[in-house]
Subunit: 366 residues, 2 copies
């Protein structure tokens, strides 16, 4: 693939000098910013992530800040999750839907204060949805993108590395909870979260000028832990069933189709509720499923998504697929029609370089 030309419109991050010095070999663009795709290789990065600790520039997870007297009112409209049960230090993964239940994003919601929430977003300008709802209804709330750039620390040695920089208090942070921890003359929201199944933290770096100082502190503190720069890893995230909004599901899909029914529990009349509740009751007509694709690990890159067939009829689409060294199969995520998604069902996948048998799995691999 040809190179990418950055501009102010497709911008770097506070950590870009570190990412470039660490030798990112390819990038994608996410929320108008550069996101590294891999450093050494997908497989080498994956192996290291599962054994050591990595620092990830995930600045692209921009925050949509919703603050003001009507903040909770707006969040209740937008969130299928029950906001009333949210603790003061909690983070909620939440699909955000339009009036037809179509997914517009799947952010992590963070309760900053009673009248202040952040939405840490997937790729897409969710700010415009929140702002449109707020302005359309005359809500008393500010909707802005603050200068906050998350830095993730992921992998089995993440606790040790973070403890060296932020103190042993990090070990007490529970899953999807956060603490405000000091760094230099400021403090950051530090949550136990991140887009891997290897454990770790996300540091919401508030103020771009703190970016490289924090990056350097983490690398200085972690030399003997074999710390490296990394990024969300395609292999590891497909093994773990971590969904990529825009690839695995889009506005044409509901959270029920996306396997996210457990995150739709709000008693409020949130936007999209009638469609979502009906699908919960009746079952959706298609659903995201883990699928093992037969054959060796020589699949082409599936940027377009691959059609899935039962006999000669198309019954689905696989948007994410890659060879898993640990599970010795091609792991993938596909949106499969009802009647074809039972575990053990054998389907055919058109990979662009030939058809391959593929089997629907009961669960993701990790």
């Amino acid at each position: 693939m040809a190179g990418i030309v950055p501009s102010r419109r497709v911008r770097g991050t506070p950590f870009t000098p570190g990412v470039q010095a660490a030798g990112a070999k390819a990038y994608t663009v996410y929320n108008h910013m550069l996101l590294p795709s891999y450093f050494e290789s997908y497989e080498a990065d994956y192996r290291h992530l599962k054994e050591h600790v990595q620092v990830w520039d995930v600045s692209v997870e921009r925050q949509v800040s919703v603050k003001g007297p009507d903040a909770l009112r707006l969040m209740r409209q937008m969130s299928p999750r029950d906001m009333d049960k949210m603790a003061d230090d909690q983070c909620y993964y939440a699909p955000i839907c339009d009036h037809n239940g179509g997914m517009l994003n799947d952010p992590v919601l963070i309760k900053i204060a009673e009248d202040h929430y952040w939405m840490s977003i997937a790729d897409g300008d969710l700010l415009q949805w929140a702002l449109g709802l707020a302005v359309g209804q005359g809500l008393d709330v500010d909707v802005v993108e603050p200068d906050v750039s998350p830095l993730a620390v992921q992998g089995p040695k993440a606790d040790e590395l973070m403890a060296r920089v932020f103190g042993d208090v990090v070990r007490d942070i529970k899953f999807f909870r956060y603490k405000r921890l000091a760094f230099e003359d400021t403090e950051f929201v530090v949550a136990r979260s991140g887009w891997s199944k290897q454990g770790g933290f996300e540091i919401y770096v508030d103020g771009s000028d703190y970016g490289m100082p924090l990056w350097n502190r983490l690398f200085d503190a972690g030399q003997d832990l074999n710390v490296r720069a990394g990024c969300p890893n395609l292999i590891e995230r497909v093994e773990g069933g971590l969904l990529s909004y825009g690839s695995d599901m889009r506005r044409e899909n509901t959270p029920i189709e996306s396997g996210l029914a457990r995150f739709c529990n709000s008693p409020e009349g949130y936007i999209g509720k009638s469609v979502i509740e009906a699908q919960k009751a009746d079952g959706p007509n298609k659903m995201l499923r883990p699928i093992a694709i037969d054959g060796p690990g020589d699949l082409p890159h599936n940027a377009l998504g691959w059609d899935v067939y039962a006999d000669n009829k198309q019954v689905g689409l696989i948007a994410s697929a890659v060879w898993s060294p640990d599970f010795n199969t091609n792991v993938s995520i596909g949106m499969i029609d009802r009647g074809h998604w039972d575990p053990g069902t054998v389907l055919n996948v058109d990979t662009g370089t030939g058809m391959r048998p593929a089997t629907v799995k009961e669960k993701f691999w990790i």
Copy 2:
């Protein structure tokens, strides 16, 4: 710069096979799609564009379709331009603003029918703003992204090439007007418009399957016209003062600051009107200006934007700058503070490789 990894989230277009075969050397990402940055080189592409005719894959100009009984009501809220004067076959360039006058996008609005508009958008999910306003107010309107991918034909020979494919009727299309013209078994909106000052058309290709057939027809018909694949050209668009939303201006800027006051003439109570009218009356505190930067054409690529100084005080930012062979100077667009933007004012630009004198111009170069 390292390469880019495409995915379903950062997708190709109906014309990508043609673009790749034509040898695009670099890409950017725009509205979750690939947009070529140049083919031979910025300068070679520029020279060819000014002399011959080019076919541009501008599928990234996604359409936000607003259709239904309340379509005009929503457009009147969103548009600072007077929608009542819009002819049935007209296209309007329009800044779209939030309640503070901050720009959210600068699409071309196209009147498809009395109850149906398209917004051909710059980089940013304007669909979510329109949808938020519609859902927030319970408007009776559908807001969707149709399968429409614009293909631009630009350059002095554009009329001749288009006449060969669509008939001489194309010569009668006036600037920012359109006709529906037949292609195979369908018809497309064909407008005299495009993101260059060299003249030409944009074909709103409705249906991805028509993409490569049309691409091939244009290239077959234009061989003796020296037709080539091209793309919006950095040099030509800066010479002509064509603004790039996200680079030259963003949500922190109003249309008045962006030099777009003439597009803010609606008598309706559109969103952002009070701020925009006040700035029209009092003048803004900063404004986009054409700026000639001294010295040879060896400036670095200015992806971050460059600070502009008067004495030692920062008075502006230049987001787009490049050497112009035809005007024998470095052409640029900068947002400059009041008191420093008069034509002839000499400022200093921090290019990252040293300070350069620069002069504010009266007008853009073409």
